[in-house]
Symmetry: C2
Subunit: 161 residues, 2 copies
């Protein structure tokens, strides 16, 4: 299998609790397949998260999007600039608070969430192929715990609207 021939220093870390090298590897593979599936939508991996968020909650400020993604502000700014240039979103300065930039899907962008949802389902099915329902729930439970463990405390309250 994919891990049995790793060098010693890495194999040594495969005692209980070795998410160490596993997490980056899974992230790359997950991203690679996601990229492949998104072919034809005009999106790159990462952008689809914003599209889904805006599909449900239009008019969010960049800061809100930033906090929800768990990312730094410049990442959001660049990504949204590209999505705007591609015609998927539009950004307008808020009248209430002129520091904020409110983001929404354009007509062109509004066609995306449904397709992205389908692709997510497909990606999830591929990732969890061969796992029983209880295994999937267990995996989800464990991953949530890991995410909490890795998330700085001061970011935990920023996910709601």
């Amino acid at each position: 299998m994919a891990s049995s021939d790793w060098p010693e220093s890495i194999a040594a870390n495969r005692a209980p609790g070795t998410a160490g090298a596993l997490i980056p590897a899974i992230a790359r593979a997950h991203r690679a397949l996601g990229q492949k599936l998104l072919q034809g939508t005009g999106l790159r991996t990462g952008q689809e998260l914003v599209i889904m968020l805006l599909g449900d909650s239009p008019g969010k400020s960049q800061a809100e999007i930033t906090r929800w993604l768990g990312v730094e502000p410049p990442t959001t700014a660049k990504m949204l600039a590209r999505l705007e240039r591609a015609g998927f979103v539009e950004r307008v300065r808020s009248g209430d608070d002129r520091r904020k930039v409110l983001v929404s899907l354009t007509d062109k962008g509004r066609a995306l969430p449904q397709r992205v949802g389908e692709l997510w389902d497909e990606l999830n099915r591929t990732a969890t192929a061969g796992l029983s329902d209880s295994d999937q729930l267990e995996l989800e439970r464990l991953l949530l715990r890991v995410l909490e463990n890795l998330t700085p405390d001061d970011a935990l309250d920023d996910l709601g609207s």
Copy 2:
């Protein structure tokens, strides 16, 4: 907790098998903490994997490193060029096969694997905090399965030396 207030389109995908948005989120958090821990070593996240590999198996070609990382050739080339410029590795053309470039740690680079190993342990402990040993093993089992599911078949045999 960190996931209870996600928008509907994402919450909807949280039925059994929702690694979907969880994997990228964990990857970001994992990378962020890794970056923080690597402060002072002179390495960026991603580079430490190469350092560990070369610590155990010096003289590997870039193609071997590339396959082992599960990455595309240009990624390895750029990264190694930077590691070389930083003085951690050295690259020499192979005499046997002059297409190949063999990579090894320099004296400066040889100091890194031990420290990186310690930091990996710390990162793993943080990530799996609160999980029982059996939970950790279960998580590892499930993640390996997901990695296999996401890895194209033609890459599965490239991990040995």
